[in-house]
């Protein structure tokens, strides 16, 4: 690209490529292209004069010049809907200046008859819109606007009609601006941090944001995860569920060389995928559109406010009619039409909600709709799944107990030898426990058979060896566990989960596995209780003893032990039937039904993709105390909405009365009404919580 350097100081350089160098739609793409260079700290592009301003790292001037010279706008594509915050600001300023300038130039230059004709022409558009709305059977704010404009026009009061229309245009412009600005802020917050992938780099795995992924990179996808990109399998084997693409419910086996598609799910196994095509930010856009448009996702308070706002309109007309009848003064009557509650309520409520969602995003919490914040504020019970939610799902081997001739080390060695073939967290704990104790093993068993959610079976030295849960070993495989053995296990396991190993139909030993709670779990539960959540319930598949130990440690009010995965949702439904408003916090594939059953559900950062899809709220950080932050935020949001509501009713009612008694003119009334609406919207955009002190996050946002 040809350019001229018009400003050049260390760290800041401005290029000018001339008008028509690139289109307005390519501004964001140019900025993004420049930001990809490590030397560029910040970039701005303006299509009007082809200006490019770059802030760069010390000593990188030549590199920046080369980058700008290498820009080829023919290769750039517009980046979809424009959500750049700065662009929205500058467009708003331009439009506002245009609007004001047009009005004053018209007033100053046009002779009265022509100016009146212009006002009449503009006014007809408002009247026509009002008539159209009436014909469609609605009585809303459009009809109010149309009525006030036509009343002034009929009175031949063109000046007032002009002022009213000017106010309405400014109000519409501000409305669009605030909406666009709030949405852009939300997109920014989500785009930086939503999805992350495990990048395979020199044999190690690094967690990186999706946005940094390049075509040709290799990523690792494990059981329960959605494949985020189209690509080719480079190593590993997995059963892939392609139902989202093909509708085929059965999984397909994929190995090296197979093609996999974005949106399909790894049912079992682990694969490395070389990226062929990226899916972009479409998912984020979809979430934002959903939040903005879907009636189902709107907070109940928002829908109620909007309905109420529309229901007030007929009363405005009634007020207009009565005033006209009693005072015979159309100016006073028009004052009534100038004030409506609906636009302030309709505008400030969604802005408050979207701002709160954005603020949650800044705290690494993704909320999929306003109604979930409302439900979170109203909840009185929280149900936690234990493993992976209250714990890190990183079980640790505590000890091995032998009930046979094998020593405890041998029991551990055999178990590790069998378990190492499966990437299950308990299996990893056993293998790691053996490795930590320096127990090496050789493959002595035949092919292993994995029985989903139960255990593993194989043949060891000609005997059937099984390892798994009590249910699997004792009931499915009919291995006898004597009362003495059971007593010894209970005495020695100390509240740990127990994995049973049986060889040749006899119990050979058990392995005690503990899953320590997250460091902040106790504090998080304490904070939730303080915030008014009375019932804290824990669901776990562990034994009653193990569950009670954890519950006592964390301050949990009620725990249900030995819960089967498929039964979790029943406990949630029971709580709801008892009249509680329930938050469910989970992470696993088997939590999805319980998450769906709750009033509001939360998935942890490392949750399976299925749980994250099912959940209404996702924590992107691993910190459970964010639940308490979310509670505070949701409560503050409700307070803000109700306070706004009271202010709007109070202030506008005063305007109505002042207009009614002729103390203020319709134009003053319109000005104060619009000004108060905008003030309340601006107030609704302000943060409710203290900003999260997270330097990494702020850097990310700055770069975006």
């Amino acid at each position: 690209m040809k350019f001229q350097i018009v400003y050049d100081k260390p760290g800041r350089i401005r290029f000018r490529c001339g008008a028509y160098a690139f289109d307005k739609e390519l501004e964001t793409a140019v900025q993004k292209q420049l930001l990809e260079s490590a030397a560029v700290k910040k970039a701005e592009a303006h299509a009007e004069n082809g200006g490019i301003l770059v802030y760069y790292e010390a000593g990188a001037r030549q590199k920046v010049i080369r980058t700008v010279a290498a820009l080829d706008t023919r290769l750039l594509a517009p980046l979809g809907p424009d959500t750049c915050s700065e662009r929205i600001d500058s467009d708003f300023k331009t439009d506002l200046v245009k609007l004001v300038a047009k009005r004053y130039l018209q007033n100053a230059l046009l002779p009265a008859p022509i100016a009146n004709a212009v006002i009449l022409f503009k006014g007809i558009r408002y009247v026509w819109r009002a008539v159209k709305t009436l014909l469609e059977g609605h009585l809303n704010v459009d009809v109010l606007d149309g009525a006030s404009v036509s009343a002034c026009l009929l009175q031949r009061n063109f000046k007032t009609a002009g002022t009213i229309m000017f106010m309405l245009s400014i109000s519409a412009l501000l409305e669009d601006y605030t909406r666009a600005k709030t949405k852009a802020a939300l997109t920014d917050s989500l785009a930086v941090k939503t999805d992350k992938v495990w990048l395979v780099q020199d044999g190690t795995e690094v967690l990186i944001p999706m946005a940094e992924l390049q075509v040709g990179d290799v990523i690792c996808v494990r059981t329960g995860s959605v494949i985020p990109v189209d690509g080719t399998v480079t190593s590993g084997e997995a059963n892939i569920n392609e139902a989202s693409m093909t509708g085929e419910p059965l999984s397909v086996r994929k190995a090296k060389g197979s093609t996999v598609f974005a949106g399909t799910v790894v049912d079992e196994g682990s694969i490395h995928v070389q990226v062929r095509a990226l899916s972009g930010n479409t998912k984020i856009q979809k979430i934002i559109e959903l939040i903005d448009n879907s009636e189902n996702l709107k907070a109940g308070v928002q829908s109620r406010a909007e309905n109420l706002a529309d229901r007030i309109v007929p009363f405005s007309f009634l007020g207009f009619g009565l005033t006209l009848l009693l005072t015979r003064n159309i100016t006073k009557a028009v004052s009534i039409l100038m004030v409506d509650y609906s636009c302030a309520i309709k505008l400030s409520t969604p802005i408050s909600v979207i701002s709160a969602i954005r603020e949650a995003a800044d705290h690494d919490i993704t909320v999929k709709g306003g109604k979930y914040l409302e439900a979170f504020a109203e909840a009185d019970s929280v149900v936690f799944d234990k493993t992976g939610t209250l714990t890190n799902a990183e079980p640790v081997l505590e000890r091995a107990i032998s009930f046979s001739d094998y020593s405890e080390d041998e029991i551990l060695r055999i178990a590790a030898c069998i378990e190492e073939h499966f990437p299950h967290s308990v299996a990893r704990a056993i293998v790691k426990g053996a490795a930590d104790r320096g127990l090496n093993h050789q493959e002595e068993h035949a092919e292993v058979q994995y029985i989903v959610a139960h255990g593993i079976a194989t043949t060891l030295h000609g005997k059937r060896a099984i390892i798994g849960s009590h249910h699997f070993v004792s009931e499915d495989e009919h291995v006898e566990i004597t009362a003495e053995q059971q007593a010894a296990i209970e005495a020695q396991s100390g509240g740990c989960s127990v994995v049973y190993l049986a060889i040749g139909g006899k119990l050979s030993g058990v392995l005690c596995i503990s899953d320590p709670p997250r460091a902040e779990a106790g504090e998080a539960i304490g904070l939730l209780k303080k915030a008014g959540i009375e019932n804290v319930v824990m669901l776990t598949g562990d034994s009653q003893q193990a569950a009670e130990v954890t519950a006592a440690k964390l301050g949990i009010t009620k725990c249900f032990a030995q819960v089967l995965p498929e039964d979790k949702h029943r406990y949630v439904e029971q709580l709801k039937a008892d009249g509680h408003r329930v938050i469910m916090v989970g992470d696993g594939i088997n939590d999805a039904p319980a998450l769906a059953a709750a009033d509001v559900s939360v998935a942890m950062s490392d949750a399976s993709d299925i749980a994250r899809e099912a959940a209404d709220i996702t924590l992107r950080g691993a910190d459970l105390t964010e639940l308490a932050t979310l509670r505070t935020l949701s409560e503050k949001l409700m307070t803000r909405i109700h306070r706004n509501y009271r202010f709007i009713i109070g202030f506008n009612s005063s305007l109505l009365l002042l207009g009614l008694f002729g103390i203020i003119a319709p134009t003053t009334s319109a000005f104060l009404h619009n000004a108060s609406t905008m003030a309340i919207c601006a107030r609704s955009m302000t943060p409710m919580l203290e900003k999260k002190q997270n330097s990494a996050t702020e850097e990310d946002t700055g770069k975006a």
């Binding site: 018009v6 100081k9 401005r14 008008a19 004069n49 802030y55």
Partner: protein, 85 residues
């Protein structure tokens, strides 16, 4: 017969019809179209030039502001970024 020629309204009608025919000819004439297109193009170009000139002014004002901050000793890149924002 002659009387009707003295009727003012008749002449208005005739005049209006003639004006319409001539007006249509003018509006649909190739030359008029060319004039209108070139006029519009000039207007659009003027608008673009005005936008470019306005943006140049804005850029230069930002640069001056940034330099002033630097001279006052309060400038660093961050301060300039704030000024530009």
């Amino acid at each position: 017969m002659l009387k009707c020629f003295k009727n003012e309204k008749l002449w208005c009608v005739v005049g209006g019809a003639v004006a319409m025919v001539i007006g249509k000819k003018i509006v649909t004439a190739k030359k008029t179209r060319q004039l209108a297109v070139s006029g519009l193009a000039k207007g659009m170009k003027l608008q673009n030039d005005a936008k470019a000139a306005f943006q140049n002014m804005k850029d230069e004002a930002q640069d001056i502001c940034c330099d002033a901050k630097e001279q006052a000793g309060i400038n660093d890149t961050d301060a300039c970024e704030e000024a530009d924002a």
